[in-house]
């Protein structure tokens, strides 16, 4: 489609997406790409200069169009623009934290049912991780059955939501210095639900009206996500389904098979997807597929549900956030399941254009017009089989010519922090030391976390790939999750060979020696908690300072769009990480709030936000920050090696 200047609009850097967008256009199917053309972002809302939390407004308070016309802006209640922008930002963080944490609650409840033998088809699979989490939670393990330990772990995890005082159990996993900073500022989360509720209260009309004070609670709320809900999700999912280990995966829409029953699992919770993996191996299902004329059952994933089953079972990933509707445009998808988060309501209209059945499966999320089959762990496997049967029976109903783009890309995925630790030293010398040593000797310049969503206001995947290539070219190893990870997978950056093709010589040397890609796929968006733990391990190993903020490290979400991304960003900043977001930034309505986040946060947390829509410039800012940290650690110059004799050693005391 051409834009208003008649130029052909570039919508994606992914050929599979481009061809399916063209197909949708020819078939007059509405997708996010076309809706975005019709609907421009609200210029006042985009900078959050609008307050609509009470019935006296909404109060629209845009910035003056011309410089020099600035004046104090306030709503009818007198709330300043700082209060309004900070309240809006804080509410987004609360929503993001609530999303990850409600996911975590579902995980904890299912985990407890699994431990009590009340969940059909689930088991405690990873005994090592069970012990690890039991140690974190202070649960006695000696001489006890796994089941008993797991019940205690499940109960302790559930307690984290309703706690009213004290500290979340995972806080003590952070570097000691970081814990001190949080305690000094009074931002240690007491209980997950409490922080979200308090945030919503304090942003109600006429409560907390000091933007710096509001941001302290927003930080406490975000920490309840990163060092609370998200970490619970990651850990308990690992125990139930296995801690990810390296596995071969395949990315992009080309994973669909024309002569098979194609099913897409989309959303974030891994329960139904796990049981669909089991159900596809059922001989009865295979026979049914054969009976309807299909040559097999092809289970695939989309968004973070895809990440979950990709890194544990190698289930192919059909694409990331902006490809969810395009997957249906192939005409090859018999059924798509959706649970929670990031599933567009537009899917229903697209599914009606083809033969696809859209099935909502969570008791918390329905889509008007979609089929609702609720998933409950007590009869989970039966539900999985019911849905699978529905998909198979829908295979003969294909009514359009099927078009599946050829693009697929192999990748190695599944780098949990435990696996990275193992790969760096083996079973008997597992350690982050080789990584620290190579950062110290300069082969690896630093570490970057590139995470987050797709956003239709940025050319699909373009910012992720430009940024990641720039970082690895400059010897910065990249850890990635969520839709960013899928973009990297599709672009061939998750293979060991990518080190030779794209990385700087130092990083390539390390990757080739260890046998890892220069970009490590660490999982779904809740698994950003794995990055926090990996960063903590780097600190605790020694040689790179005493805190996450001392590490030559930075974070980014160049194509972010969801409130979850803001919660993630805030907990990374509050953990000491310089974090750059692209595409858009939601506090530009207030210079003071933006300055507080971009500059004053460094004084508070030794980490701060930045905004830069150009991914190459943003990568440059991250590298500059990494170099600043290298300099502070004294790693910016070669040092003469001094051999200490005994007298010199004694002098150290």
């Amino acid at each position: 489609m051409a834009d208003e200047k008649g130029k052909e609009k570039i919508r994606s850097i992914d050929n599979a997406a481009i061809t399916l967008i063209e197909k949708a256009q020819k078939e007059n199917v509405s997708t996010v790409f076309f809706r975005a053309d019709e609907l421009k972002p609200c210029p006042i809302g985009v900078e959050e200069s609008c307050c609509k939390i009470c019935g006296m407004g909404p109060c629209r308070l845009p910035r003056p169009k011309k410089a020099g016309e600035e004046k104090d802006r306030a709503g009818v209640c007198g709330a300043t623009i700082e209060t309004i922008v900070a309240r809006n930002f804080a509410r987004k963080i609360a929503a993001g934290t609530a999303s990850h944490s409600d996911h975590a609650r579902e995980v904890a409840e299912t985990f407890l049912k699994t431990a009590q033998d009340e969940a059909q088809g689930f088991a405690i699979k990873d005994e090592v991780k069970l012990l690890e989490v039991a140690l974190d939670y202070g649960i006695e393990t000696e001489g006890r059955e796994s089941r008993e330990i797991a019940i205690d772990v499940g109960k302790k995890a559930l307690e984290q939501f309703g706690k009213q005082d004290g500290e979340l159990v995972y806080i003590k996993k952070a570097p000691l210095k970081r814990q001190e900073i949080w305690r000094k500022l009074g931002v240690v989360p007491r209980g997950i639900d409490r922080e979200v509720v308090e945030m919503m209260h304090r942003t109600h009309m006429g409560v907390d009206q000091d933007y710096k004070h509001l941001m302290l609670q927003a930080t406490r709320t975000a920490l309840a996500d990163g060092w609370g809900g998200s970490m619970i999700s990651t850990d308990l999912q690992d125990i139930m389904f296995g801690t990810p280990v390296p596995i071969l995966g395949t990315f992009n829409t080309g994973v669909f098979k024309e002569d098979q029953v194609n099913i897409v699992v989309h959303g974030h919770e891994p329960f139904l997807p796990e049981l669909l993996v089991t159900a596809t191996h059922d001989p009865e299902m295979k026979a049914l597929a054969e009976k309807v004329g299909a040559k097999g059952i092809n289970l695939t994933g989309m968004c973070c549900s895809a990440n979950e089953v990709l890194m544990r079972h190698g289930i192919p990933c059909a694409g990331n956030f902006l490809q969810q509707e395009l997957a249906l445009v192939t005409g090859a998808v018999e059924l798509m399941t959706v649970d929670v988060q990031c599933q567009m309501q537009g899917l229903q209209d697209v599914s009606e254009c083809y033969h696809t059945k859209l099935v909502t499966t969570s008791d918390r999320a329905k889509i008007e017009g979609a089929i609702h089959i609720e998933f409950h762990p007590e009869n989970g496997l039966d539900t999985a089989k019911k849905i699978l049967r529905m998909a198979i029976e829908n295979y003969p109903n294909r009514r359009h010519a099927v078009y599946i783009p050829a693009e697929t890309q192999d990748a190695v995925v599944g780098f949990s922090h435990e696996t990275i630790n193992y790969l760096l030293g083996g079973l008997f010398r597992a350690s982050y030391k080789p990584l620290n040593d190579n950062i110290i000797n300069g082969r690896i310049r630093g570490v970057a976390g590139v995470v987050g969503c797709n956003n239709v206001r940025t050319v699909h995947d373009s910012a992720h790939i430009a940024m990641v290539k720039e970082l690895i070219k400059n010897d910065v190893i990249v850890l990635t999750t969520g839709c960013a990870a899928m973009a990297c997978g599709k672009a061939g950056l998750l293979t060991p060979e990518a080190a030779r093709l794209y990385a700087g010589s130092g990083l390539a040397e390390v990757c080739e020696a260890v046998g890892i890609p220069p970009v490590l796929h660490m999982g779904a968006c809740v698994d950003n908690s794995r990055i926090l733990i990996a960063a903590t391990a780097l600190v605790k190993e020694g040689g790179l300072g005493d805190d996450i903020s001392d590490l030559p490290a930075a974070g980014a979400a160049p194509e972010w769009m969801s409130e979850k991304a803001l919660a993630i960003g805030q907990y990374f900043v509050a953990s000491g990480v310089y974090t750059v977001f692209g595409t858009t930034w939601p506090t530009l309505g207030s210079e003071k709030v933006t300055k507080h986040l971009f500059e004053e946060h460094e004084e508070l947390y030794k980490g701060m936000w930045a905004y830069e829509p150009d991914p190459i410039k943003a990568a440059g800012m991250m590298i500059a920050h990494i170099d600043k940290k290298r300099k502070a650690l004294g790693l910016d110059k070669a040092r003469e090696r001094v051999l200490y004799d005994m007298a010199m050693r004694r002098a150290l005391d």
């Binding site: 012990l131 690890e132 140690l135 596995i247 079973l427 903590t536 005493d546 650690l633």
Partner: protein, 71 residues
């Protein structure tokens, strides 16, 4: 894995030396690298956690956090 491949390179003192070339296996893996399966008993698992993840689970590991001179 087949025969080892050697490459001729120049050492630090300018002499030609033979070094072992790449030793990776060609092709794609058909199974995941399930390294945790090597830990058979509960004792093995606990010992592994106390050594490999000593940052959190070993009583005598202090890393960077208990040094006399802070970084």
């Amino acid at each position: 894995m087949g025969e080892y491949v050697y490459e001729e390179k120049e050492s630090f003192d300018g002499k030609k030396v033979k070094v072992l070339g790449p030793t990776y296996e060609e092709g794609k893996p058909d199974a995941k690298n399930d390294w945790e399966a090597k830990l058979g008993s509960p004792e093995d698992r606990l010992n592994y956690l106390k050594t490999a993840l000593r940052y959190w689970y070993s009583k005598d590991w202090f890393g960077s956090e208990k040094r006399k001179q802070e970084a």
